[in-house]
């Protein structure tokens, strides 16, 4: 059903994707089956599900860090591999993955360096990105001199440095405390709205998924698949009040029930989810 509506130039088009680890061996794992998903330009999509549902695997398939066992993934109308080579997307992980021997500015410059940009142009863009993530005075600091939230903001600046239209994030705020986390969520929405960035965001926090996303994709494990897609029609202008709105709670409940349904069916099948 997703496929029929998709436009070949949508940022992410996933069709009939399946990912099997250790195929044909005794420890074969069906990580993902029958995945169809289209992410439209400027859309924010959260992937949520219990551990082992393949949400991080799906993100890595989109990023071409893993190859699908079957099916196709198209990014901006080209193959996932070509998109990676062209740096069509930026990526951020739970660990900020900043290089401790580089200053904040030089960390942000890294993808530009790999693209062969000259020094002046790189530095100008790094300054621009630091303005965007509100850390302009930290250009010459080293990552270990920054707090966890600031490090994660630098990682986002790095992911967006080459101005990719697509941002792939794997639990980027998972290691942050609740207050910093909510603050970062608001910042992320602001940054992505400013740049019109499309985002695929993996999380295991229900409120985070709902607060950020236009659509929450609920996934189930063994085998990993999409069970429900929840449309979060809360509009684009979300702020701290959104978290207290009744519409927000309604969507949180909807996602929670979808996840609860997965849990119950797993229990019925005698599979314990840890």
């Amino acid at each position: 059903m997703e496929n029929s509506m998709s436009n070949p130039n949508d940022p992410v088009v996933i069709a009939g994707v399946r990912k099997i680890f250790n195929q044909g061996k005794p420890n074969q794992v069906d990580a993902l089956i029958d995945i169809d998903l289209t992410v439209r330009a400027g859309e924010f999509v959260s992937l949520i599900g219990p551990s082992g549902c393949g949400k991080s695997t799906l993100l890595r398939l989109i990023a071409d860090l893993l190859q699908p066992s079957a099916g196709t993934i198209t990014i901006n109308g080209k193959s996932a591999h070509q998109a990676r080579v062209d740096q069509d997307y930026g990526m951020a992980f739970q660990q900020s993955g900043l290089f401790e021997w580089r200053t904040v500015a030089r960390n942000i410059e890294l993808p530009l360096e790999l693209k062969g940009w000259d020094k002046a142009k790189r530095r100008a863009r790094a300054v621009e990105m630091l303005e965007l993530v509100k850390l302009p005075e930290f250009a010459d600091h080293y990552p270990w001199q920054l707090s966890g939230g600031m490090q994660q903001r630098v990682a986002i600046a790095r992911a967006l440095a080459a101005h990719p239209g697509l941002l792939l994030m794997d639990e980027p705020f998972g290691a942050l405390d609740e207050m910093t986390r909510e603050h970062m969520q608001a910042e992320l929405l602001r940054i992505c709205a400013a740049a019109g960035t499309t985002v695929v965001f993996v999380t295991h926090s229900i409120p985070e998924a709902v607060y950020l996303a236009d659509r929450v994709v609920v996934m189930s494990p063994r085998p990993g698949r999409i069970t429900t897609v929840v449309d979060v029609a809360l509009g684009r202008d979300r702020d701290e009040l959104t978290r207290e709105a009744s519409g927000f709670f309604g969507k949180v409940t909807e996602v929670r029930e979808a996840l609860r349904g997965i849990e119950l069916s797993l229990e019925a099948r005698g599979i314990e989810d840890r």
């Binding site: 990676r84 080579v85 660990q95 290089f99 790999l114 270990w144 001199q145 707090s147 600031m150 910093t180």
Partner: protein, 302 residues
């Protein structure tokens, strides 16, 4: 911003105080050893002590344990009767000669070690094929290899036959490359997965990833390996000098002063001090390299 304030590096004044304290401890330790030496010499039995026929206490006569001031006063004497150069000059010159050999061995050994580590990290096959031989190579005593290397050089070229210093450097390299190869390989293989995935997502190739990520993140492993290599280079060079009788080197000086030890025991100590200073200078050089490599890293919590 709601984020906590960034971590400030340690204040420079406390760093300086720590350095002064360390230097003081170094001098103090030397004085304690000297005091123990002279103290034992003063109270210990002149002819040594025996327990059920086994000598357990060293003799304290001036031949076995010269006074420390005798050792240092020898530096002022001329090396041979009527010679113009003082022993100090001769020892410093010999130590400087050996230091240059050891530095060359250290640098060449480090480059070789890093090159081998990169090849092993790049090609698993090479690691599996080469690693056992590297480990075995270090079990061969260099005193056994010294004549072998010398004769191989002589067979290959008449010019090389007289270059015993080159053989000493090669043996220094032989000892120095190993810790660097092992340390660097461990460092290159211990890169965290998140930054590796990140480089992958930027479509960076293996060599770019090596240069921008694996190498810098291996530095905390390479720096201590370089310290080992520095010490190994000094040992390799001086021991080979003794074995090969390299002219001008401190090893040769230890050998010939050792032969004079029956008539002039303190003289040997001057050459030994020279070798010790050579080792200290090498350690300082390596420490400087260490500081240079680690200058932008998070200071370790003291």
């Amino acid at each position: 911003m709601t984020d906590p304030t960034p971590v400030a590096p340690a204040a420079p004044s406390t760093v300086r105080a720590r350095r002064i304290r360390r230097a003081a401890m170094f001098v103090l330790a030397f004085l304690i050893v000297a005091a123990l030496w002279e103290g034992y010499k003063a109270v210990g039995p002149e002819a040594g002590g025996r327990v059920v026929g086994v000598r357990v206490l060293a003799r304290t006569n001036d031949r076995a344990m010269p006074h420390i001031w005798d050792m240092f006063s020898r530096f002022g004497r001329s090396e041979v009767r009527g010679g113009s150069d003082s022993i100090l000059i001769v020892v410093v010159r010999a130590a400087w000669y050996s230091f240059r050999c050891a530095l060359l061995a250290f640098l060449a050994g480090s480059f070789l070690g890093i090159a081998i580590a990169v090849l092993m990290a790049r090609f698993r096959v090479i690691e599996r094929a080469v690693m056992p031989y590297l480990v075995i190579s270090q079990t061969v005593p260099i005193l056994v290899l010294a004549p072998l290397i010398m004769s191989l050089m002589a067979y290959n070229s008449r010019d090389l036959a007289s270059k015993t210093w080159l053989a000493a450097v090669l043996l220094g390299v032989f000892l120095a490359f190993f810790p660097v190869a092992v340390g660097t390989l461990r460092g290159l293989q211990s890169t965290a997965s998140a930054p590796l995935e990140l480089m992958d997502s930027f479509a960076a190739g293996w060599w770019k990833t090596l240069w921008k990520l694996r190498f810098p993140s291996a530095v905390p492993y390479i720096a201590p390996a370089l310290r080992l290599a520095g010490a190994a280079a000094v040992v390799g060079v001086t021991v080979s000098e003794i074995s090969l009788g390299v002219k001008f080197g401190i090893g040769r000086l230890i050998l010939s002063y050792g032969q004079e030890a029956t008539s002039d025991p303190p003289k040997l100590f001057t050459a030994v001090f020279g070798a010790a200073v050579l080792g200290l200078v090498m350690a300082a050089v390596v420490l400087g390299i260490d500081h240079l490599l680690m200058r932008n890293r998070q200071p370790e919590a003291a």
